[in-house]
């Protein structure tokens, strides 16, 4: 059993044994976890993949006269500036504001240009206040001129991830790359046995405040990332799906463009390739065992991205050894695989971090707090469109009959106005019952004269302030073709029929189609 303090002392003395996660896998295979735990002090992990949920906070400094920026554009890419006066957050996937450039240059490209030391055009607009009178800014900035440029990535380092294929007849363009028709290829994105959170699947050492390698600089883990999930299916202790995530922070000013690249997934959009590496202190045998995980032991599912729904059908299960071999058999046919995240760079990250520790330039940290390893699930977004109420409908003026009206008169009304239902009301217009053409025919056949004898007294109604969906369900449930609409005083205001409702649904769908 070791402690972080002991390992740090070894690092200080230049005695720490540091290996990459791939090397550790071989060591555990050959010598067993017990030996490995004694022998090895730190395992370095690494990943270099497209991490869309990335970005950076900037502070531009105050101009004279000062401005309170409300719209901010960096090389034409909008940053969110609803934060005080001269702060902004630029997201990696934000496309260029000029639609002709659009996806070809976005937030991710801007971040890379900044790190490369390039000059960046800053355009800002403001509404002007007494204390911030300036309403526009057009100037140039660079990474150096910014007061702060702090990378904060809300969701990085997915523990594992799905692999993708496409069963349709057409090529599709996804965040897992270009997918050929008829399951012609497979895209996957995890760095497998090198990947940080697959080497510490229960967050035993990785926690809030953990010092990490982030794009060539020393960064920190702020905590679990958005969509952090812990309770999904596991095999060999590691999740088979996306599962855990991390929120990361680092200083853009210290980063190296070698480990941070702006990219565009064709017809999908900009994304940032982030190089992240996390050191795992080998405190005991169990941790050693977990870092010994191999590509073969890490499973994932290949999903059909040809189905554009939240739950896509799984085509088959595979593991990273198969995926990394470059070819995989789907339905008896061999297809090629694309890694999407650079395994070469992932290894470079792990090696770089290893050399920092060996040289005594990087020390390990105790977590300030643990990251949850159970009880976290991701809820889907429920789409609730605002309900349309009965009173919002355009309703034709209603034709009613009085209780004392004679039947032949009512029959004539029905024929003349081509209607099938007539609500029966009292002198104040209050609903008493309803007659249908069938009731009338029945009455004529039986020679009855009084409306009140043939009408249905227990009337199913729609209240004015009920949502239309509810009425649709009611009409359906009672197998009727329409119901009278009444107000709170039970006065009849109109009729609503199944036909009115289906017309409403059609027009709504058309409207939605237009806005897509």
């Amino acid at each position: 059993m070791k402690t972080i303090e002991e390992i740090n002392q070894k690092i200080r003395d230049g005695d720490a044994v540091v290996v990459t996660a791939s090397e550790m896998t071989r060591i555990v295979q050959e010598n067993g976890a017990e030996e490995a735990a004694k022998e090895v002090d730190v395992v370095t992990t690494g990943t270099f993949g497209a991490m869309c949920s990335s970005g950076a906070f900037f502070n531009f400094g105050h101009s004279d006269p000062p401005i309170k920026m409300s719209h901010t554009y960096l090389n034409g890419v909008e940053a969110y500036s609803g934060l005080a006066a001269v702060d902004a957050y630029l997201g990696a996937t934000q496309p260029h504001r000029n639609p002709d450039i659009g996806l070809d240059y976005g937030g991710a490209h801007l971040l890379e240009d900044l790190v490369r030391g390039k000059e960046i055009e800053l355009v800002a607009e403001a509404y002007g206040t007494d204390c911030y009178p300036r309403t526009e800014v057009h100037t140039f900035i660079s990474l150096e001129s910014l007061n702060q440029a702090i990378m904060v990535n809300p969701r990085n380092c997915y523990q594992n991830y799905a692999a993708a294929t496409n069963s349709t007849e057409e090529t599709i363009y996804t965040y897992l790359g270009t997918l050929l028709p008829q399951m012609g290829n497979v895209g996957y994105s995890s760095a497998g046995e090198l990947s940080p959170l697959l080497n510490d699947p229960y967050f035993q050492t990785i926690g809030v405040g953990t010092r990490i390698f982030l794009c060539g600089s020393q960064g920190y883990i702020l905590g679990e990332g958005t969509q952090h999930a812990t309770d999904g299916e596991r095999e060999n202790g590691v999740p088979v799906g996306s599962a855990g995530t991390l929120m990361l922070q680092g200083d853009l000013k210290k980063m190296d463009a070698k480990f941070l690249r702006g990219a565009t997934m064709p017809k999908y959009g900009p994304t940032l390739y982030v190089g992240a590496g996390i050191p795992i202190p080998i405190l005991n045998e169990e941790i050693a065992q977990r870092t010994g995980i191999s590509d073969q032991d890490i499973h994932c599912n290949i999903y059909d991205y040809g189905v554009p729904r939240r739950s896509r059908p799984a085509v088959m299960e595979t593991n990273y050894q198969e995926l990394r071999s470059g070819k995989i058999e789907i339905n008896g046919r061999e297809v090629q695989t694309s890694p999407l995240s650079s395994l070469k760079k992932a290894l470079e990250v792990a090696q770089e971090l290893k050399s920092w520790i060996e040289k005594g330039n990087f020390f390990l940290t105790n977590p300030v707090q643990n990251i949850p390893n159970k009880g976290c699930t991701v809820k889907p977004l429920q789409i609730r469109r605002p309900s349309i109420l009965v009173k919002d409908l355009k309703i034709k003026p209603v034709i009613t009959a009085r209780a004392e009206d004679d039947i032949s008169g009512v029959a004539r009304k029905m024929v003349d106005d081509n209607i099938n239902h007539v609500p029966v009301v009292d002198h104040a217009g209050r609903l008493m019952g309803i007659v249908t053409s069938w009731d009338i025919a029945h009455a004529v056949a039986q020679d009855s004269k009084k409306l009140t004898e043939v009408m249905t007294k227990k009337v199913i109604v729609a209240m004015e302030d009920e949502p239309v969906e509810l009425i649709a369900r009611r009409i359906d449930k009672h197998e009727i073709s329409g119901v009278p609409i009444v107000n709170r005083e039970n006065r009849v205001r109109g009729m609503i029929t199944a036909e009115d409702i289906s017309r409403l649904i059609c027009s709504q769908n058309n409207k939605e189609g237009d806005s897509q």
Partner: protein
């Protein structure tokens, strides 16, 4: 050798290709074809002991032959070895080596352009 064969309309209806294979010791692979009654082009890979003679025969029959030289170029600075392009190449001209470096073999490449349009950093360019 890889080459584009350009057919004029008068040749499309003739059995030039099958005659070539019948009469010469060549192995012949059609990589791409785009032939209409108005003529067309076909990308072929031709090899074998009588490849030269075969080519002469094709030219004699009126097929214009344009050998392919370098068609794609990968900018090693821009390439980040992500491997996205690998599975898209129909002729396996793009491979990943032991160290996970991505290589493009322009001898094998047929210039289809799949990799150029899919590369996230636009590292591959077609150069005719």
């Amino acid at each position: 050798m890889k080459a584009w064969l350009n057919f004029s309309p008068s040749i499309v209806s003739k059995t030039v290709i099958s005659d070539l294979i019948k009469h010469y010791d060549v192995s012949f692979n059609i990589l791409r074809a785009d032939i209409t009654p108005k003529g067309g082009k076909m990308l072929i890979d031709i090899s074998g002991s009588e490849a030269e003679k075969g080519i002469q025969y094709l030219e004699k029959e009126g097929i214009q032959l344009n050998p392919i030289k370098k068609v794609v170029k990968k900018d090693e600075e821009k390439c980040m070895d992500c491997g996205e392009c690998v599975s898209l190449c129909p002729v396996e001209a793009i491979t990943i080596d032991e160290e996970w470096t991505v290589h493009l073999d322009d001898q094998k490449c047929i210039g289809c352009g799949f990799c150029t349009s899919s590369c996230p950093t636009k590292a591959i360019k077609i150069a005719d």
